[in-house]
Symmetry: C2
Subunit: 350 residues, 2 copies
């Protein structure tokens, strides 16, 4: 039984890419050589108009589309970068992700991304899967605190930029917001408005930004010569139940706080809910800006950072590396900005 070029031989998997035509098929149909088709497909010079026409006709008749997997294998560059972060749907990370995508697009690269769900194992699994795909570079918001697993990859040439949180146990490019200064400014703002007992509700202290923000809180209190009671500190998971419980605890008793500082956007939103149920005003400053913060009553005073700017900076640094810039790892810190809207300017209620 005779076999045509495309018939399923014993060596061919049952359905390869749905049995799509290849350049060879296009060449055969157009009666030209393989390389001529390649030239046409890639818009290279040196093909006569007539030949080009025949090849084009053949391409559309067969529904040919170049297989970039093969191209990638041959060229050694995938024109894609990987992005791994905690949660693509988080209102803080979504704009960051979008900014990375825009920069990638400007450089002709696609974006492969994944959410680590704050799970170090999942982060590593995703990152290594991306390395196996030979992405040209990686932008990572760490969930893990040990990135030594990346050492062979970086050594092998995978450009890597960390953003929002520093990597653990390795030296690499890094783009951060100034969490320490931001938190210090926010807490100083509350102190300037007369508060002396201020609660801090933040994220788990293992997370770098959470740690820095707590440090900023302590610095502001200390600079003002104010004591900090143990009960005013509540680092931990940012689920509403925990945040609510800690807030309610701080808001009662003789040592009760007159103001709260929220360590991130999710904490802030939960605190807004808790405070809305209260019969007395409690001042609030939150880290991270969020939509509609200005329409709540009182409008919420925040320490704003620009996630899109962080993403853009990280991606641009990455592509600079891919273009061959080979300085030692760079650490960029972006300033934060206090936006006073009302909740942070409330006076103490006693």
């Amino acid at each position: 039984m005779p076999e045509t070029a495309r018939s399923a031989s014993a060596r061919t998997p049952e359905r390869r890419y749905g049995n799509r035509p290849t350049m060879k098929d296009v060449a055969a149909r157009a009666g030209v050589g393989l390389k001529t088709v390649s030239r046409v497909v890639n818009g290279e010079a040196g093909v006569s108009p007539d030949t080009e026409r025949r090849v084009q006709e053949s391409i559309s008749a067969l529904g040919f589309r170049r297989n970039d997997s093969a191209r990638i294998l041959r060229k050694g560059r995938t024109a894609s970068i990987g992005l791994v972060l905690e949660d693509l749907a988080d209102p803080f990370y979504a704009p960051l992700s979008r900014a990375v995508e825009e920069v990638a697009r400007a450089h002709g690269a696609l974006l492969i991304n994944g959410s680590s769900a704050e799970d170090p194992g999942r982060e590593q699994e995703l990152v290594l899967a991306l390395c196996a795909r030979r992405v040209d570079g990686l932008v990572i918001v760490p969930a893990s605190d040990d990135h030594r697993y990346l050492e062979p990859e970086i050594a092998a040439g995978v450009a890597t930029v960390f953003v929002d949180r520093p990597p653990g146990h390795i030296d690499a490019d890094l783009v951060l917001a100034d969490s320490f200064a931001g938190a210090r400014d926010g807490v100083s703002h509350l102190i300037a408005h007369g508060h002396r007992r201020i609660g801090f509700i933040g994220d788990r202290p293992g997370i770098h930004t959470a740690h820095e923000r707590l440090r900023g809180y302590r610095a502001a209190m200390s600079e003002a010569g104010l004591p900090v009671a143990e009960g005013w500190l509540a680092p931990g998971a940012t689920d509403p139940g925990r945040v609510r419980a800690d807030a309610e605890r701080m808001l009662e008793g003789p040592e009760r706080v007159t103001a709260l500082f929220a360590g991130n956007n999710r904490v802030t939103v939960t605190l807004v809910r808790v405070l809305a149920e209260l019969d007395r005003p409690v001042a609030l400053v939150g880290f991270d800006d969020f939509e509609l913060a200005d329409l709540l009553s009182p409008a919420v005073t925040v320490i704003a950072q620009d996630p899109a700017q962080l993403g853009r900076a990280a991606a641009e640094l990455l592509f600079r590396r891919l273009e061959g810039v080979d300085d030692p790892p760079r650490r960029m810190t972006h300033p934060t900005r206090l936006i006073a809207r009302g909740s942070g300017e409330l006076p103490p209620s006693d």
Copy 2:
């Protein structure tokens, strides 16, 4: 001049994947055949413990990681799917995207995604780039209204599911929310609370959901026997400037509306701002739920759809196709839910 296996010959690009070791290198170092390394890397049976140990040692010494580009080329499946939508950072699409990612992960696939920015040309460019990468399947939120460009791809076996909006001029799987019924319910709700002059501010009418929601508005008005003045309809771009101008126009004059229906989340947010500046109460119902809607005053009544559910349904349908289910294209419609919070229950102000 003698050449080792990995030295840069004239035929080798200067830096291929940063010159990473291949299975061949691992095999040479371990003193085994190529296929044996392949067996170890893929956890296949039939390798003696001793050989396996030697290969493993060789793998970690060289920092070998399997090149999935080559694997993909050979196997014909990329274990990746593409997602194209309007804007990854939009609070409606971000959870949809995350849901698609989770389903992909459950099926061992990576997600490559891109934002079309509501630009048909960019949608097509992205989709075709994903096809060239031979993604196994596509989830698309259309920006374009003509998807005939996808016909050869679908014919060639790229599974495709549309979500949120139907494809143009082709028949394909589709997951929608019930925009028509949702809008009709929302407007009926306003009518039930005494309103007779209701404005509709929506998205551009070329967008399917916008069209359906306008149809729902008309149906509700018509069912109640209410006339619709031309000035009460304002489809168009959803930028705050346009929405504000149209709202302000509707809110003055003798025929002024006492209630507004917002066609999507962005319009709703802008209208909340406009109405907050007003000296009289105007009722508002918005399509799409949004965070903090319950904390505004008045809290905002919405027609809620579940974007994560839409994404999950679309991705699950896609993987069912990839597993070989071959029914005719399916169209799934998810119901919406009215959440009364206050703004939609305000009585007419005159």
